[in-house]
């Protein structure tokens, strides 16, 4: 049969060992390793390999894969499946990500754990469908109407497509919040070695269930502000609504205090746990003249630029953001206080640079380095040039 022909270890959820995988495949395998039991999606370049892989693999592990009529159906089916008790995911790219925003807002409001993978491509609109970009950073943060906070992770390699997808599930289960894996075409399609640890070495977090019928499913009175989550069909008779509701789920659409309390908590439950959520990679930050803040595929050029600068006697400190939102304020602020200038390379016309400016509070210069179109990456040479210029050499 086809599965055997493809050389897969059929029936296994965690494919322990070393693989030569493209990022999108690693993402799908990360989802399985994290316990994903449901995927609904709609084909779109450059994420289709995520869903193709899961169409093959999810049935092997007894999970559900469905391709639906559009991205609206996909994200909403994910919400239903998550409330039915399955760890759920969808994957998309720019235009589909735009269509999913209302559903992601509903996930925020109903506190539904789910993972949304956005393999970024050139936008706006249809843009350049096959070419990579980093233009959805602010959309990932602010794409929905109303006040809210989600978690956004930015992988920079196929290995991290695996690792951060596992982490995305864990964070979404721990905090009952949608988590967005903000990948890009280059990371999605590049092939590198991906190491999959044995199942017992992979941390897997599951949502907390209520102890009994008297624990409110939308309460969150504890220090982490996260309420326990029942599933439908378990006798909890939970009214779930994307409208404003009290801690038992009853819709209350006119009371200002109920709304304030709910939405404040929805943001607090992420912000109060920010230290546990935020991950950065630090390179030479203790002793640097110039700083660079990067994320995703662009960081790969920064590694090389840091080395090239060193060869010229310039100390470059690099903060690579693995978590984009909540924004790693402390780490970026600390860097900005040590250096003369911070260079922010992005494959967009300036998005995360505004956050860097905000947290650096004019303690140093913040220099954007931008490139868009054609999926062209920012090269190590371009980063080096910006660093040299920032240092006055």
């Amino acid at each position: 049969m086809s599965l055997i022909r493809l050389g897969l270890d059929v029936g296994l959820r965690v494919l322990t060992g070393s693989h030569f995988w493209e990022g999108n495949v690693a993402c799908a395998e990360g989802a399985l390793a994290a316990g994903c039991g449901f995927f609904a999606g709609y084909p779109i370049t450059p994420q289709s390999e995520v869903m193709e892989r899961l169409s093959l693999r999810l049935p092997e592990v007894g999970g559900v894969f469905v391709q639906l009529e559009d991205e609206l159906a996909a994200i909403n089916a994910v919400l239903g499946a998550s409330w039915a008790g399955a760890k759920s995911m969808t994957a998309t790219s720019g235009p589909g990500f735009s269509l999913m925003q209302e559903g992601i807002g509903a996930a925020v409001m109903t506190e539904t754990p789910c993972v949304i993978v956005d393999v970024q491509r050139v936008g706006p609109a249809t843009g350049q469908a096959t070419k990579g970009a980093q233009g959805d950073v602010m959309q990932a943060r602010w794409g929905r109407h109303g006040d809210q906070m989600v978690i956004v992770l930015a992988p920079n390699s196929p290995q991290e497509m695996f690792d951060l997808t596992v982490r995305a599930f864990n964070l979404s289960e721990a905090y009952r919040v949608p988590v967005i894996v903000l990948a890009d075409e280059a990371v999605g399609h590049m092939r590198e070695q991906v190491y999959v640890p044995p199942p017992e070495a992979i941390e897997v977090v599951n949502r907390r269930k209520p102890k009994g019928l008297n624990e409110p499913p939308f309460g969150g009175r504890g220090p982490d502000r996260v309420p326990p989550m029942p599933s439908v069909g378990e006798g909890f008779n939970v009214p779930i609504t994307a409208s404003t509701h009290n801690e038992w789920g009853y819709r209350i659409t006119a009371d200002a205090l109920v709304h304030r309390k709910l939405v404040t908590r929805l943001i607090e439950k992420v912000m109060a746990n920010a230290d546990r959520i935020i991950e950065v990679e630090l390179q030479n930050v203790e002793d640097a003249d110039i700083g660079v803040v990067s994320y995703g595929i662009t960081s790969r050029s920064v590694y090389e630029a840091v080395r090239l600068a060193e060869g010229r006697g310039i100390k470059v400190g690099h903060v690579r953001l693995k978590t984009l939102w909540p924004f790693p304020e402390k780490e970026v602020k600390a860097l900005s206080e040590r250096v003369k200038a911070v260079v922010v390379p992005e494959m967009n016309l300036g998005q995360i640079v505004f956050e860097v400016e905000r947290v650096s509070r004019s303690t140093c210069r913040v220099i954007p380095l931008n490139k868009i179109g054609g999926g062209e990456l920012i090269t190590p040479g371009e980063v080096l040039e910006a660093v040299l210029k920032a240092g006055g050499t």
């Binding site: 049969m1 599965l3 055997i4 059929v10 029936g11 039991g37 449901f38 609904a40 049935p59 092997e60 007894g62 559900v64 469905v66 639906l68 009529e69 559009d70 609206l72 159906a73 996909a74 909403n76 089916a77 994910v78 919400l79 239903g80 499946a81 998550s82 409330w83 039915a84 008790g85 399955a86 759920s88 209302e102 559903g103 509903a106 109903t110 599933s231 439908v232 069909g233 006798g235 909890f236 008779n237 939970v238 009214p239 779930i240 609504t241 994307a242 409208s243 789920g249 009853y250 819709r251």
Partner: protein, 278 residues
């Protein structure tokens, strides 16, 4: 002593009375649905999951039914229901929604769920307008109707939703009005026993947003209009199109057997397991 209404055992007492306007057809649909549930022998709604979108009839299960209910986004109740059904196939998953929700913004999901034959029961309460937002024209508003966005009369032909769903492949399709409470209840009973995509259009009165602007003086006047203008499908088949103009064709429009999507999916899983083992 006054006997407690049969429906109250299935309702959340603390949410009553309902927010529906006096004379609204949603109360009739609630009664018909819960009577069907009762007659099928259920004593509670534990084996059910209800999904709805946005609009007056989306409030039927949420929050009134004492059950798990997902009051989701406008038009998206069917995908939410599908997500639940695929993960928990043992639950009876029922969608309530209006004509705007199901046949307007959510029509794509309706057609595809019917085509896939997802094992859901979808009850569309067709009151001809967007009631909750103030009575705007909807996909089912009759021609020449006055609504808040057709002040000169509606120039769009209405959509025959039940026949659309039938054409899309749904194995069970019925249409009744809130005048036909007994057959409506019977069709709901049939739908709840099916393992297929079962669609029921309940033509319903909105005295506040539709009736008022169309010159109906009360809800009962609209019900009389339903009574006088409904034709059973068995009779309608022998009538010419012009004789059916402005009539409501009621009855069971489709009742056939087809393999359901969710059961096909789980059969596929067994097959895959066999491949994996062998």
């Amino acid at each position: 002593m006054l006997e407690k209404h049969f429906a109250r055992r299935f309702l959340r007492e603390r949410t009553l009375p309902t927010a529906f306007c006096p004379g609204c057809g949603c109360g009739t649909v609630i009664n018909c649905f819960l009577k069907a549930v009762l007659e099928l022998g259920y004593t509670d709604l534990k084996g059910f999951a209800f999904c709805s979108g946005i609009g007056c009839s989306a409030w039927i299960p949420s929050p009134y039914f004492n059950a798990d209910s997902f009051h989701s986004l406008h038009g998206r109740a069917i995908p939410v229901a599908m997500g639940i059904k695929l993960v928990k196939p043992g639950l009876k998953v029922v969608v309530f929604g209006g004509d705007g929700d199901i046949a307007g913004i959510g029509v794509g999901h309706l057609v595809h769920a019917a085509r896939r034959n997802v094992e859901l029961v979808v009850i569309m309460v067709n009151n001809f307008v967007y009631g909750m937002t103030g009575g705007q024209v909807s996909p089912t508003t009759p021609l020449a109707s006055y609504t808040t966005t057709t002040p000169y009369g509606n120039i769009e032909p209405p959509m025959d939703v039940a026949n659309l769903v039938k054409a899309a492949g749904a194995p069970f399709v019925a249409r009744w009005t809130t005048y036909h409470v007994y057959p409506l209840k019977e069709s709901i009973k049939t739908a709840l026993q099916k393992r297929c995509f079962a669609f029921i259009e309940a033509v319903s009165q909105c005295p506040t947003q539709y009736g008022r602007r169309m010159g109906f003086k009360s809800a009962s006047e609209i019900l009389k209009w339903f009574r006088d203008n409904s034709i059973h499908v068995s009779r309608a088949q022998s009538l010419k199109p012009e004789e059916l103009k402005n009539k409501i064709v009621v009855g069971v429009l489709e009742d056939v057997e087809k393999p359901g999507f969710v059961s096909s999916y789980y059969e596929m899983l067994q097959r895959v397991k066999g491949v994996a083992a062998g």
